[in-house]
């Protein structure tokens, strides 16, 4: 279980996160939703210790995140995280060199799935294909949790469909996923758990199945209800 407890973060004088708490479970897709600047990326960065926090706790299976946690949790940020002159094969080799949890077989499978050429240089790829390389590097690791920051941002419809397809294949398996996205419609039917954020706090947290069955509402319906209230 990945627990975010009372997370606080300031940028200068601006308090971006004012005590955010939620839990993500293995085998579930948790979606963080909120308008731009609400702190979704900051939460993911904080989980990965990529930004300093001003308060709160982040626990993976009851323990603080350490360097060892990077073998259990991976982050696919909304940024190109490989060097431009690298070939895809070289980026894969880099991961293989440093991560025990790197799964070469799955990496090759993902390469085929995304129809990428291992000899292509990252600098020569389109935005969609670069996003796919980022996904490949993150998903080819045998980890318990995958964090994804805006995986559909600025990508064409066909690439978005291909990326969304990942969630319905064995490539995700029973891993826990925390995803931030504005393109809810692409994955709405796949989300298990939603955390709605606003003004640095959690406005509402719910299980999509429950809301669908008990109230007959979609995620977008609940979003409208909460944000337009």
């Amino acid at each position: 279980m990945l627990e975010v407890k009372d997370l606080k973060k300031k940028f200068g004088r601006k308090q971006v996160l004012k005590g955010v708490s939620f839990t993500a479970k293995k085998g579930e897709i948790t979606c963080l939703i909120g308008i731009n600047g609400v702190g979704k990326t900051t939460i993911l960065n904080a989980i990965m210790r990529l930004t300093a926090i001003n308060g709160g706790q982040i626990l993976l299976n009851g323990e603080s995140i350490t360097k060892k946690s990077y073998e259990k949790i991976t982050f696919i940020p909304d940024a190109i995280t490989v060097m431009p002159h690298m070939k895809i094969s070289e980026a894969m080799q880099f991961m293989d060199d440093f991560y025990d949890c790197w799964n070469e077989k799955r990496a090759t499978e993902l390469l085929d799935f995304f129809k990428l050429n291992a000899n292509d240089r990252v600098s020569s790829l389109s935005k969609g294909n670069t996003a796919k390389v980022n996904l490949l590097l993150g998903l080819a690791m045998d980890v318990d949790y995958v964090l994804m920051d805006e995986p559909f941002s600025g990508i064409d419809m066909f690439s978005r469909e291909k990326i969304a397809e990942v969630f319905t294949t064995h490539l995700i398996e029973d891993r826990g996923v925390i995803i931030t996205t504005h393109e809810i419609s692409d994955i709405e039917h796949l989300i298990d758990h939603v955390v709605l954020l606003d003004n640095g706090r959690v406005l509402k947290e719910f299980a999509t199945e429950e809301v669908r069955e008990q109230e007959g509402k979609s995620v977008v319906d609940v979003m409208r209800e909460v944000y337009q209230a």
């Binding site: 990529l50 300093a52 360097k67 060892k68 060097m83 880099f94 060199d97 440093f98 991560y99 025990d100």
Partner: protein
């Protein structure tokens, strides 16, 4: 340890293209320099002897024998050394900032490697250090080659052959770049390594606190230099001649170790608690 070595290898391979360019540039410039300077000396000798009817002895008395010293005082020799020095100094900043800035933010990958973040830091510092050592070794290897070229170009009567040690002694900066004793090596190269760590720490301050970090970084560098110079300053201005030179050196070494330790400790803290992608 294994991840540290892998990271060093990775950083070295990232810089290798530019490094090979620097090596080729140094070799070409210095060898060309030997040829140009030798030709110009011999041209002058021919002119003086055939046109002005000067004897060989007179010419040598007036202009001196051609030795390596002629070359070392020219832009052909000093130029590449200065340029490589500047490139390595620039690379001390680039080695960090290229991972953060630009379209590709490789720093995400580096900070998420399941190893101590200090390995990333030490690998970058080691890379710079090895590059410097490599350039110095190249220069040492070039001296005999350049001497042979000089011997081809200038007849024995006109030249003064120097061995490597004599050549090194003829350079102004020899004591720093080419230390002759292990103690000197540890002193000068230790000071160099310490400088790399101090600058890296200042960079991490900037990466952690951005605009405020620049100020903190500058203050940190000033503080480090101040601490290192403290024994000398006290001896010079407050207790003149109170300490023996060996004691002064000893205390300065202790201060250097203190600054190195302070840089490592601060960098460890910043990398683990404060740095932001």
């Amino acid at each position: 340890m294994s991840n540290y070595l892998k990271l060093v290898n990775f950083e070295l391979s990232r810089f290798m293209k530019l490094y090979v360019v620097m090596i080729c540039f140094t070799i070409i410039m210095q060898i060309t320099g030997v040829i140009v300077k030798s030709k110009s000396y011999m041209g002058l000798a021919n002119e003086e002897m055939y046109k002005n009817m000067m004897s060989k002895t007179e010419f040598i008395n007036q202009h001196g024998e051609f030795s390596f010293y002629w070359l070392t005082q020219s832009i052909w020799f000093m130029g590449p050394i200065a340029l490589c020095g500047a490139a390595l100094l620039f690379y001390m900043f680039l080695i960090w900032y290229r991972d953060w800035l630009g379209k590709n933010t490789f720093i995400y990958r580096l900070l998420m490697i399941p190893t101590a973040r200090m390995n990333v830091y030490l690998a970058k510092a080691t890379t710079i250090f090895l590059m410097v050592i490599g350039m110095v070794a190249l220069q040492l290897a070039l001296f005999p080659v350049e001497a042979v070229v000089m011997q081809w170009m200038v007849p024995v009567d006109f030249r003064l052959d120097l061995n490597i040690l004599q050549t090194i002694f003829s350079l102004n900066f020899a004591a720093v770049l080419f230390p002759l004793t292990p103690t000197e090596f540890f002193l000068w190269y230790g000071a160099g390594a310490m400088s790399i760590l101090v600058i890296f720490t200042a960079i991490l301050f900037e990466r952690s606190f951005r605009w405020k970090g620049i100020l903190i970084g500058v203050v940190y560098i000033a503080l480090s230099v101040g601490l290192l110079m403290l024994p000398v300053l006290i001896d010079e201005f407050f207790m003149y001649g109170y300490l023996y030179p060996i004691e002064l050196v000893g205390i300065t070494i202790v201060m250097g170790l203190l600054v190195t330790g302070m840089s490592l400790f601060t960098s460890h803290y910043l990398l683990n608690k404060k740095v932001t992608v």
